[in-house]
Symmetry: C2
Subunit: 269 residues, 2 copies
């Protein structure tokens, strides 16, 4: 249990105050904060509230969305990502997770260049604030609008090309489980000290919604323990983050859902 982190979006019906109290009571040790959970709050005080509950603040979700055919929108993305870095610093989160973005109006290769340019522009601000930037490769079904980085190989290429200790990678089993190069790319990621975060959930068969039908570990076809084994073999010692978007689970009593998350974490990860 001292490595179990839950994302605020996983128990979306709860406010961050309810989540903090209930996570702490249940013995959860970490929390990843989504920016919308901070709406209308003093960020620094919220960070203190989380630490008073003995919760490790693992990441802030999310920055990114760098690519656009419009130069103005690319500039706006930089401004927004600087705000995300400021928020992470105020909250006391060591990193911002990046959903890197894509624009269906241009080639993926162009989007990838714009992602790298965006991250490089942020580096001085990230370093000045002691906040890392974590590239999360997303499933190819999100390549049109959410991310032009769709394999761990691509994320490794980019992190190695940028080559800064302020830039690393989040491995999420949901996005990467299908890739036959996953094991070797996880080892490469660890070898280059780029493995910053590990997200878990499961892929349901059938999956009824492309975004909001993720499963609890053990409920689908992903071998989470095997991938966790690779990640740990690659040197990762951080929190194991449960990140589930699910209309079905959000409709449930969230106390019961949190119980199920803990059981799934203990038995299937």
């Amino acid at each position: 249990m001292n490595r179990l982190c839950v994302h605020t979006i996983t128990t979306k019906p709860w406010s961050i105050e309810e989540a903090a109290e209930n996570f702490a009571k249940a013995g959860v040790s970490g929390i990843t904060v989504w920016r919308d959970a901070l709406d209308g709050r003093n960020v620094q005080q919220t960070g203190e509230m989380l630490r008073q509950h003995q919760l490790e603040i693992v990441s802030l979700c999310r920055g990114g969305f760098f690519p656009s055919t419009s130069a103005k929108k690319r500039e706006e993305a930089i401004v927004d990502n600087k705000k995300a870095i400021d928020t992470a610093a105020a909250l006391g989160a060591p990193m911002v997770v990046l959903v890197c973005g894509a624009d269906p109006g241009q080639p993926l290769s162009t989007s990838r260049k714009q992602i790298q340019e965006g991250i490089e522009k942020l580096l001085p601000h990230a370093e000045a604030n002691n906040v890392k930037l974590t590239i999360e490769p997303l499933h190819p079904m999100y390549a049109d609008t959410r991310s032009a980085i769709n394999t761990l190989a691509q994320a490794n290429d980019m992190a190695e090309s940028i080559s800064s200790k302020w830039v690393g990678i989040a491995v999420d089993v949901y996005h990467l489980w299908w890739d036959d190069l996953l094991q070797s790319e996880i080892m490469r990621c660890g070898r280059n000290d780029n493995l910053y975060a590990f997200h878990i959930c499961d892929w349901k068969s059938p999956t009824e919604d492309m975004l909001l039908d993720r499963g609890l570990m053990g409920e689908g076809c992903i071998n989470v323990p095997e991938i966790r084994g690779w990640v740990e073999e690659a040197g990762f010692e951080g929190q194991i983050e449960v990140e589930i978007f699910s209309n079905r689970y959000w409709e449930m009593d969230q106390h019961q859902f949190l119980d199920q998350i803990i059981k799934a974490y203990q038995n299937h990860s």
Copy 2:
């Protein structure tokens, strides 16, 4: 127009007789027949009917679904694939397209082994009937149940490992457009004489259904002309097959839809 093939499922509301008549009138030159379109018909006579309409029969869709945790089901799949080969031979189709299958209850690597074993078992029957078997790599969002072969690299590996002129590959832009290795893998596929079929449509943003919301060429984010260019550079000279599953288009008047297909083929492929 002398390279435009349309799949029977693309205009699903039409019977194969209606499709043949309307495709021929519109100047379409090829047809790929889905097995359900043959239900209740004499297959040989249907093949003759298609040829009388001057339609080239490009493929029969579909065989495959080899993997299962149950040995009995794997045997049943072989029986069913032999039937598909018989049907293709009776129809006069030179190949059966394989949606290779996957079983969420076992690792993808196991499913891939079972796919290769299944194809190898079919080889004598394929050769005896002069029918080729065409591996179609499917998008990673179908890796749980529809196919454990999710990249052209994997399909190339398998076709080269089987190494028979009775086994090749179908490149479908919908499944493969996101892959940054696509161009080089298409060249590899052509170099090894494994490029047997080319399927087109588009990826809509947003895509509202994981299966039944494909777009017409030009309607989404896939650069179909660029991929077609690679396929032709790799030596492919066959029919360009329009394969669209779409609740939205199936609800339309199919004559209007066929007009749109032809325009999209002429302007965006």
